[in-house]
């Protein structure tokens, strides 16, 4: 690559204040929320228009420079980690809501729009954007699309891709394509659906058409405490077997209960081995009818304590404890790794028992908070990075948990993506033919591997590990993780 010619091409597109090249200015972009990885890009550009993004991608293509799109950098898997000597295209300033059509319940937005801002804009019309990752006050819709992000309400309403109707994208060679549309339905192959979750490997999303849903009329939330994790897991199965479809079904183990209680005092019973949170949502008379059934099912599951949120404040308190659990556990330990894996729901009990054994085997504490309704585990592996070898051992344990998920018929990631962190696990979940097919697709779309090079597919040497722990924004209490 002729670096000076490339930089000259960028100068022709971007004014100096939106073309960062000084080491101090680049430092902020060297990692994402997986701070273990870092790499220095050659430059960062901050486009304000779609045509600037397209021009930047075209320049990369012309000079053969790899590029990484970046939203808010909250990826937990190293997805927005720069490519060394590559370009970072920071999209936060492409943050316009281009159109909000309440009658047709759609919004057309730019990729840098913050997730929660869509719901804020839709709220006056009684509408909301459903996917709710706990990073939603800060993560961007572009990042959500790239990662097919989830949240606490996936069982009933799905992940990001279930709410994306159309996309305008720039492919890695600078060509622009429009996928999907505004209708809920389609008569073509679902190309927008394929693009969502491709982790930035197919190009950069310039515009997203999302569907909006009416805000549920009412919520009913309860918390049940059990003497064993198994009993809580069984309760989840009974709720599912009863024909109910709750908006959220979450479990926390004792360690995370302790931590959450210490941090935000949600009023959780400290002696519980497991807490189950169930939330029904929807139209009032339907929810009332479901509520009667839910109470009967929960009673039969023999919790030693049931608490019902009597009002919105009490509901928020229950959720606050749940949502703060991870950062709170982080306070019990200087460092921790958040793992994200999926097992079939019926094997949750087995998975938890295995994790407990692994934890004992390695002598490492593991807290568990998870989306029980989806079988999505988030084990939190605690260690002290100052202890020699501790990080390595924690990573070994994390890796064994992923193997466990695969063995039980699940997935290596439910919502945090593959990125950098899990690329070496891909061949454990997918057969060689599947990997070959994905690679062939990648190469046809992007022969030079310019878009987010080095992610998702196992390859080469990983950059040096530095530290693992809470995101700076978590430390500041701005966001928390699920």
């Amino acid at each position: 690559m002729n670096q000076s010619a490339f930089l000259a091409a960028l100068r022709a597109i971007f004014p100096p204040d939106r073309l960062l090249m000084a080491p101090a200015a680049l430092a902020a972009y060297e990692s994402d929320a997986l701070t273990a990885f870092q790499a220095r890009p050659v430059a960062v550009v901050i486009p304000e228009t779609q045509s600037e993004v397209i021009a930047a991608v075209q320049a990369c293509h012309r000079f053969g420079v790899p590029f990484v799109a970046r939203g808010s950098g909250t990826s937990l898997s190293g997805g927005s980690l720069p490519v060394k000597e590559g370009l970072v295209i920071a999209l936060n300033r492409l943050n316009r809501i281009l159109r909000l059509d309440p009658q047709q319940r759609i919004a057309v937005v730019e990729p840098g729009v913050v997730n929660l801002d869509i719901t804020k804009a839709a709220a006056p019309y009684g509408l909301l954007y459903a996917p709710d990752p706990s990073s939603q006050p800060i993560c961007t819709i572009g990042g959500n699309v790239a990662f097919n992000s989830g949240g606490a309400h996936c069982l009933k309403y799905g992940m990001t891709s279930n709410h994306v109707l159309g996309l305008k994208v720039v492919l890695p060679d600078g060509e622009v394509a429009e996928l999907g549309g505004e209708s809920l339905d389609s008569v073509d192959a679902d190309y927008a659906g394929l693009f969502v979750g491709s982790e930035g490997l197919f190009g950069i999303v310039l515009e997203i058409t999302v569907r909006l849903l009416p805000k549920p009329e009412t919520y009913r939330t309860l918390l049940a405490a059990y003497r064993s994790l198994e009993a809580a897991g069984d309760a989840v199965s009974s709720v599912i077997a009863s024909g109910l479809l709750p908006g959220a079904l979450e479990i926390m183990d004792n360690l995370s209960i302790q931590a959450a209680e210490a941090a935000v005092k949600p009023g959780y019973p400290l002696d519980a081995a497991a807490l189950l949170i169930v939330e029904l949502e929807g139209e009032r008379s339907q929810v009332e009818a479901e509520w009667e059934r839910l109470k009967a099912v929960i009673d039969a599951s023999q919790p030693y304590l049931i608490k019902v949120a009597r009002n919105d404040d009490e509901r928020m308190k229950i959720w606050k404890g749940r949502k703060s659990a991870f950062s709170a556990v982080g306070r019990l330990s200087p460092d921790y790794i958040v793992q994200d894996g999926v097992v079939p729901r019926r094997r949750l009990g087995e998975a938890l028992a295995e994790i407990e054994k692994l934890s004992a085997k390695w002598g490492i504490r593991v807290a568990n908070v998870f989306h029980a309704g989806d079988g999505n585990l988030h084990p939190l592996i605690m260690f002290d990075g100052r202890e020699p070898g501790a990080l390595h051992r924690a990573e070994e344990l994390a890796s064994e948990i992923i193997d466990l998920c695969i063995r039980l018929g699940g997935s290596i990631t439910g919502e945090h993506g593959v990125g950098m962190e899990k690329r070496q696990y891909m061949p454990r979940q997918f057969a060689p033919a599947d990997m070959d097919a994905m690679w062939a697709l990648r190469k046809v779309i992007d022969p030079d591997e310019l878009a987010n090079r080095g992610k998702v597919f196992p390859a080469g040497e990983a950059p040096a590990l530095r530290q693992v722990g809470p995101h700076p924004l978590e430390q500041a209490g701005v966001i928390s993780r699920e």
């Binding site: 069982l155 492919l171 008379s285 290596i412 046809v444």
Partner: protein
Amino acid sequence: MSPDIRDLQAAVRAHVRVQPRGARTKCAPRADDAGILDLSAFSGVIEYQPTEFVITAWAGTPVAEVQALLAQHGQYLPFDPLLVGRGATLGGTVATNACGPERYRYGGVRDFLIGTRFVDGNGALIQGGGKVVKNAAGFDYPKLMVGSLGRLGILVDVTFKVFPRPEAYATLRVDCPSLEAALALLPKLTNCPYDLNAIDLLMGAGGAAALFIRVGGLAAGLPQRMDRVRALCGSGQVITGDDEARFWHAAREFEWLAPEECLVKVPLTPSRIPALDASVRHAQRRYSVGGNVAWIATRDLPALDAALKALDLAGLVLLNAAGDPRIGHHRTNAFAERVARALDPHGRFVR
């Protein structure tokens, strides 16, 4: 006994052009020189775990078989598959994206297909997605297969997420003097916080219209919910029981279609209905999924094709297509071209 996937792969490799065939209830692109791959051996449920909300079956399995099995456990396919009575298969349902009125509530085929194995144009067997309801690993091939009409791969098996079936249903019929009146009522319904399962708009003779609003859930809360929907609409007649079930069954089977008519699906948004309606005024038609899908019956495909092109709308001839089932204005794009090049570099599938 499981069918031989390797035979299927070898058959793909052995032909210059191939065409998968399911139960032939619906359209498919055709070519005279293509070798026909009969998928009827790929039939039967492979795995079903009711508490998992997941079912896996061979692509050639009749939808009816799956529905019957799910019903035994109080579950259903929420995307509301079409033409089940005519023998539709799971694979055909995915390939044509054949979802019905209740797709309005929880989503379409794309939202419930969570995994699939398919044979691509190289004869390779590819697994996309998985058997768990939440999964973010790998490219989302299952979505790509929805609506692909066999142009990108031959479905071998499919895994669906399923849901508990509403215990009871009721439907409100609201007669409106005109399409405009019905369309004025529509956003009130689509934006209200009531959980509505389906909203279909039927055009009658003389320009009158009728809205059919389906509500499902626990039997206990249902009468109250219907009262509220009626209050919102200002009037309406509640239909329940067998009459109610029959009405929606007839809708899914397109019983209103005359034998020699072609059935065309046109995705759109409610705001585009008036312009479309003006150009298909003499055809039987209904607007389904809260105004997101138009179903049009016609004997004159060329005229409809021209009308859709003028409106920049795409259509699919789902039943009784003579030639290429795609009519109207189909946009192509660079991404789609590259995907086709990756999955079918030798052009074996009929496009």
